[in-house]
């Protein structure tokens, strides 16, 4: 498991890519990925292209990110989710909180 984060050149977009299992063990790394930027981006993108598994703690971490990004006024996109991961997001109805595609 590894987590990489990258800010767009204009500083408005932060992309966090999660590789491997996205579960309780990723907690600190995931928080570091967005907390270490002192500039606040407008859009957060969570890239799940290489995420193989996601548990309910990972859903909790997405909620933490959403809260950090401004709660109801935040813009958090979850992209490139595999069909297994998308099932988990769908059961929890997270599409009501996040822009999932």
């Amino acid at each position: 498991m590894s987590i990489e984060s990258e800010v767009s050149l204009d500083g408005t977009k932060l992309t966090i890519a999660i590789k491997g299992r996205f579960d309780f063990g990723s907690h600190q790394l995931f928080r570091d990925a967005y907390e270490r930027f002192y500039k606040v981006p407008q859009v957060y993108i969570v890239d799940l292209k290489e995420t193989t598994y996601m548990d309910s703690s990972a859903l909790g971490m997405l909620l933490l990110l959403r809260d950090h990004a401004g709660g109801d006024n935040s813009e958090v996109q979850v992209i490139n989710s595999s069909s297994d991961v998308r099932k988990i997001l769908a059961i929890s109805n997270f599409d009501k909180l996040f822009d999932i595609n």
């Binding site: 598994y53 703690s57 859903l59 909790g60 971490m61 909620l63 297994d84 059961i91």
Partner: protein, 572 residues
């Protein structure tokens, strides 16, 4: 002597040496290095002295009278137990076999004669470092063991407390519930609750908190309190859900929430009402046709959304007697095989399809899981509830043993609930609490609540909302009925339900008259009552129930007003 490494802390060192000259020489060197010295002239003395004084390090001559150094070393190591007491052999022996024998006997090092004070000091320091390391390791091991015991104890206590809370409902007593929950599923955040409403319906909750361990179990307590408290008072699913969500939202950290399925199983209405937020699909199993209707997760889990944004919409499905509801936790679907492939919903469907004996469904699923994974998991929860006839109504709360002298006996009150209230408020729990101030009614609280609930929902649904109960004659119409009910309730802008209560003393005790009026068009009372009672009919059950449970039922005003009476005898 300035070249010597500084002594960290003076040690007590035992020197065993049969040559008086060597003993004097060594003692002098060691004392000069800042340590305290104990002396022995043979092995037996050395063992006695060790047992008495517990020195931290031993310098031991190999060849001594009475008891040699090898035997003394073995005994001292035995006395020392787990603590490291370094033994440095003093020896003029040169053969490697003899030197190896020193170490085999438990010696840690050796120092050849003649003694070099520099080497001796360095060896004492090196051995002292090892001794301290061993002491630290032992201390940390003991600390970890203590913490571990403490944690296990805490978990046992927490589980005992929790079991009392979680199992104070009817989960074990109800004949129509079967469940399977791994003993420590609690610490995986799984929660299973069941309780009867005053009307004899059954509320069931299967929940799954995020995370594991105690933090996941902590949130379960307030959830259980809300569930039992509000169910006993006669609140419906939507109010209970709102309260649970608001409470969890308030107390849980942002990244914690509770996936849950909450349902109300009603034998009287032959129906199950369901809200699913984040749990895997359960099923309503129609036994006659074998059809399984999925109970799909339509909502975010509890504790995520604010009270304003929370969606309490439920779904209602018809059930015949003997039909079953099956619920499960994600531990079932997430069971993974050696290649991290998940068991998944499709494999579960295959188990359903292959199941021949409904009563062995859990065993079939467990076997399939075990075969798939190769071992059992400890966070699997499954639940099956069968719709059974004749759940008797029970009195809520304790029946007071006082004489009833202080209870009110001659009064009346009237309420008018208008559109905005009808949309979002259920007045029944409040009314029931009020009526239970009359001690004579307490024994009939179940019947009283059932009758009030039927008459209120008739007034609201058939009267104010104008819904035709004949819609409910088949499963499809049943679903449409509840869809229309939700739509019309949202759009409601006028209309009312009035509730009048009159309480009077009688010669033998007392009488309560309950009259409920609605703003609807009314109905042909004689025609509706003349319909034959059909056991499998989904509609019209309510009125039969009301007629069974109350002593007198009368309609007036073209069906817009209904009046029932409850009588009681004075307490002896």
């Amino acid at each position: 002597m300035s070249a010597l490494a500084p002594v960290l802390e003076p040690l007590t060192i035992l020197i065993a040496e049969d040559s008086a000259a060597d003993l004097l020489l060594l003692s002098t060197i060691v004392r000069r290095q800042g340590h305290q010295v104990l002396t022995a002239s043979n092995g037996a003395q050395a063992v006695d002295l060790f047992a008495r004084e517990r020195p931290q390090l031993v310098l031991m001559d190999a060849l001594m009278p009475v008891m040699d150094g090898f035997e003394a070393a073995r005994r001292i190591k035995q006395l020392a137990g787990e603590a490291l007491v370094p033994i440095i052999f003093l020896t003029s022996l040169r053969q490697s076999e003899a030197l190896a024998q020193c170490l085999d006997a438990g010696g840690d090092d050796f120092l050849p004669k003649p003694y070099n004070p520099l080497i001796l000091a360095a060896k004492i320091n090196a051995m002292d470092r090892l001794r301290r390391l061993q002491a630290t390791v032992l201390q940390q091991r003991d600390l970890i063991a203590k913490h571990h015991d403490y944690l296990l104890h805490e978990q046992r206590v927490a589980k005992a407390v929790f079991d009392k809370v979680a199992h104070s409902g009817c989960i074990n007593a109800a004949p129509n519930i079967r469940y399977l929950q791994s003993p420590y599923a609690l610490f995986n955040g799984d929660l299973l609750l069941a309780a009867y409403t005053p009307a004899g319906d059954m509320h069931v909750l299967l929940g799954d908190f995020t995370g594991h361990g105690l933090p996941a179990a902590v949130g379960a307590m307030p959830l259980a309190e809300v569930f039992y408290g509000m169910t006993a008072k006669g609140y419906g699913l939507t109010q209970i859900l709102r309260e649970m969500n608001a409470k969890l939202k308030r107390i849980l950290p942002v990244d914690m929430f509770c996936c849950a399925t909450l349902l109300c199983l009603s034998t009287q209405r032959r129906a199950v009402e369901v809200w699913n937020g984040g749990m895997p699909e359960g099923y309503v199993h129609e036994v006659a046709t074998g059809k399984r209707t999925p109970l799909i997760s339509r909502h975010l889990p509890l504790g995520v959304l604010s009270a304003q944004a929370f969606d309490d919409r439920t779904e209602v499905w018809p059930m015949a007697l003997g039909d079953r509801v099956f619920l499960l936790s994600d531990g079932v679907l997430d069971t993974a095989d050696a290649n991290e492939q998940l068991f998944g919903a499709e494999r579960l469907q295959q188990v359903f399809a292959a199941n021949r004996e409904p009563d062995r469904l859990f065993e079939d699923i467990e076997q399939a899981l075990a075969a798939f994974r190769g071992e059992a998991r400890d966070d699997v929860s499954m639940l099956e509830i069968t719709l059974q006839a004749g759940q008797s109504m029970r009195a809520t709360g304790p029946l007071y043993a006082d004489s009833g002298q202080s209870c009110p006996l001659d009064w009346s009150m009237s309420f008018e609930f208008r559109a905005e209230t009808l949309k979002r408020y259920n007045p029944l729990p409040y009314l029931l609490q009020l009526l239970l101030e009359i001690h004579g009614l307490r024994e009939q609280s179940g019947a009283l609540y059932s009758v009030m609930a039927e008459l209120y929902s008739n007034a609201l649904e058939h009267g104010v909302l104008g819904l035709d109960s004949r819609l409910k004659r088949d499963a499809e119409g049943f679903a449409q009925y509840y869809r229309l009910r939700n739509e019309r309730l949202v759009q409601l802008s006028s209309g009312y339900v009035r509730v009048h209560v009159q309480v009077e003393p009688t010669a033998t005790g007392g009488r309560m008259t309950l009259r409920i009026e609605d703003s609807g068009p009314g109905f042909d009372v004689e025609q509706v009552l003349a319909r034959p009672l059909d056991v499998d009919r989904l509609s019209g059950r309510g009125l039969d129930l009301v007629r069974q449970l109350s002593s007198d039922v009368r309609w007036s005003d073209g069906g817009r007003s209904v009046c029932v009476e409850f009588c009681w005898e004075a307490l002896a």
